[in-house]
Amino acid sequence: MKQKLLFFFFYSSFFFTTAFAQQRYTLSGTIRDASTGETLIGATVKLQNASSTFGKAANDYGFYSISGAPGEYNMTVSYAGYQSQVQKINLQADLKMNISLEAANSLQEVVISAKDRKNDNVKSAQMGLEKLNMKDLDNVPVLFGEKDVLKTIQLMPGVKSGGEGNTGFFVRGGAADQNLILLDEATVYNSSHLLGFFSTFNADAIKDVSLYKGGMPAQFGGRLSSVLDVKMQDGNSKEFGVEGGIGLIASRVKVEGPIVKDKASFMVSARRTYIDLLLKASSDSSLNSNTLNFYDINAKVNYRFDDKNTLYLSGYFGQDNIGIKDLFSNDWGNTTATIRWNHVFNSRLFSNTSLIYNKYHYAIELVDKDNNARVTSLIRDFNFKEDMQYFSNRHIIRFGLQATHHRIAPSDITTTGNSSINNLAVENRYGLEMAAYVSDEWKITDRLEFLYGLRLSSFSLLGPGAINTYDASGQTSSSYQAAKGEFVKTYVYAEPRFSASYSLNEQNSIKGSYNRNTQNIHILTNANTSSPTDQYVMSSNNIKPEISDQVALGYFKNAQDNAYEFSAELYYKWLQNQIDYKNGAQLIANAEVESQLLYGKGRAYGLELYAKKTKGKLTGWLSYTLSKTERRFEGLNNGNYFPARQDRTHELSLVGIYNFSKRWTFSANYIYSTGNAVTFPAGKYSTGGLTTYYYTERNASRMPYTSRLDISATLKAKETKKYQSSWSFGLYNALNRKNPYAISFRDNKQDPSRTEAVQTSLFGIIPSVTYNFKF
């Protein structure tokens, strides 16, 4: 099978090379920011003469390659937020041209010719893609003033928040563990700090954020719902710079600069909270010895050997610590490391080879003398990826191979002294994921574009280990000891990916897509949010890979020279082999955890509307989602479909950013959403002397709706050549609405014969102030 696919790669590249290698020359090179040397992902190069106009976008490493018939062209290179560069070129041989674009300063941005704005969103076959503008991120108001990629992503259509102030998210009816979150290609298993109130992504260190909700390109796989592709900055290769911010909760600093000018640069960015430093200042001994903090470090180095070879090293390390004196402590964190080598074989063939390591771990320690224990758990991956891109006249062909080795250490309990608790180690699980893919972005005509491909993926559960097979009731039906390296169970899937766009004209297009995804790493949870102690399991002889099939249809329109963007997308998604667990399941440190699981199906469908204003003093967007998300499990809700908890029918968000003057920027966002689907009691009775609730249908009730207005203002201090600074003032939940976080039921304290519903709200109005600087 693999051989067949490899053959297909070679065949296809051969085919396209010969078919289009007529009298054509190629212009190629790298597009960078003129002042920092950062590569500009997705910048476009357009060639134009009397007879034709065509363009190509730079890839993830700023590399572009565009071919045309010999002749003179006007070349336009453009990128949002930058001054376009126009020049004449004479294409009489293959040309190499590295291009630097000047960033438009904020004033110029307003007057930038609208013609420079792109209509890629209309023309490209890619759909279901949300690109986050890192500049918007500076202005969107957020909790505690800590600008956050994941919280801003939640304001996009089709993306639902994991809960108030929470960085967890759900995409088009998927579960929280069905998002593939990548930081420089490394998987970030747990993207939250401090129980989800902050994300692991320090905005200072981030260059580009793309969220694929559908139409997943073939190079991505392993999760059902979405790919969040986060890329770190490379570091300024021209000059040294320091920037940072001082906030209420955390402070951050970033240092970057050239190691060898224009050849090698570095970037280091760090962030730490200091709530516990305030605690330390307290004279109360029981307070000042508690801990509650997180920190993270992003670092990246790159070295450009020559125009054909660049090496990147990047890493992330983050850690959370919570501890209560003499009682317990809990720490958790991610570590990632990525080595990448870009190689340009020729002006048309670009290759990237990556070696990636990533790990998520947690430890809980009970310090009590009678019950001391240390519980540790981790999931670790080694990853190899080879990705090739071949640029021809009307095609961009992409193909590659990927292999990932997983290790999950579910639980390891160690104790000392006279603890009530025993030592216990649940044995490691090993898995191997492999994939081969090929895709083609094909401009068939000026109006019609296809992006299609196939991903062939396999997952194998590897020995050693005790392998039990469980029947539907959770009883062991057979068991044996697998040897080291033994392939216990292997699943192979072909995942077709197809998207097409048809442009009605320059400003209007229709798009459609279908894609299949599979998933082999699963989190066991039926709680809403991610927790530091999430239990990971792999596909196995009992757990089948999760599968999703999604179809989507969209209409895209730009107006007034692309100053306004509008889109409407309809999607329907089928989910198979979804996982839940039985009532009363014991998940922690349970070697037989697979006996506690239930398997079912899901379906999700919806309509997403999005309108964005990208130009003028007032910019922003409006997004609205109408959707339904359901699950079905044998043994839950009498086997009927029931709403998933995050099934919020209506969701609306409105973001406005107003550039009042050179110094003042005001912004506001408003969100409204239907409440979560929850299970409320339909009756009550008494058992064991306690009021016990009687439940009928699962998730048939609704929490009250959520609505919130956040506002912020940014004041730029007087700029000098050397030093820039700004103040950001924010009000989270400016209307101080008590939004529902949880609803529980209890006996009335005065009259225990009556029961009452109690709503818990998390955040009222919360002011914030942050000082940012750069020199």
């Binding site: 809960g163 129980l195 109130f197 029981s286 508690n290 509650l292 919570i322 209560i324 004196k325 009682l327 809990n330 809980i364 009970l366 019950n371 224990a373 519980v375 309990i413 009530s420 608790i421 025993n422 216990l424 039926n526 709680a527 809403n528 102690t533 009532n583 009363g584 014991q586 440190a589 908890r645 299970t679 409320f680 009691p681 339909a682 009756g683 009550k684 009775y685 008494s686 058992t687 064991g688 002397g689 306690l690 009021t691 016990t692 009687y694 439940y695 009730s701 008590k738 976080y741 949880a742 609803i743 039921f745 006996d747 304290k749 029961t755 519903a757 109690v758 818990t760 709200s761 998390l762």
Partner: protein, 269 residues
Amino acid sequence: MIKRLLYIGILTATGLFFSSCEKVIDVHLDTAPNQIVIEGNITDQNEVQSIRISQSVPYTDPSIYPAVKGALVTVTDNIGNSWTFTEKQPGSYSFGPFKGITGRTYSLKVILNDKTYTASSLMPVRVPMDSLSLKVITFGGKDLKQVQVHYKDPAGMENQYRWVMRINGVQTKRVFVANDRFTNGNIVADVLYYSKDDDNKELVSGDQVQVEMQCIDKSIFTYWFTLSEQTKNGPGGGVTPANPPSNINNNALGYFSAHTTQSLAYMVR
């Protein structure tokens, strides 16, 4: 146990910095028809054993549960003994005194309006509770007094426990349940966490605490464990609540439990 500790820790840690607020609200709730609730206990004490049959009521009604009269209630064991219970008070069926014997399986049969409900439960090995002690936990600059139970878990078998705690004669609203998955064969000290959240009261000096320890079988453990997981909402609303899996068939609510029982009293210093 580990989960509970972790959970309390996290809540407290976040509670220190994020002010949350609670309010009583009106919610629209569906009303299901009243359900049959059977609550049966056979203890290892030579006493009058009783089975109570009642009905559930709509959530909005007062918590007064109508007695179900006129049922035929029999209990048998696996060596051929049979006891026919009689209705001494409305909805309360009893027999005795007699006592349950460790290792025997007791079966309940209730016939009501042409419907038959059955259940069975194994009387577990009796594990004695050695003592109660006071445990003081300090968080947020506050001393919280807690009661700790001490017992020796027998090695070589699976054991499940439930505790019922009464403070000054009033039963607490938290479900205390444990098994020996992590503590097999050890001398165990389990803290019975009691907080304002559950009962609007904290333990203070002079409180008279009474703890009953029950050794229960596996299905009864699952019943109470499921309830204990639902008693408090975790971040984001906790686990999705559901009816705890009953060992009684025909969709009756409640449980039938053969268990050992032992009580100790303790005065909080």
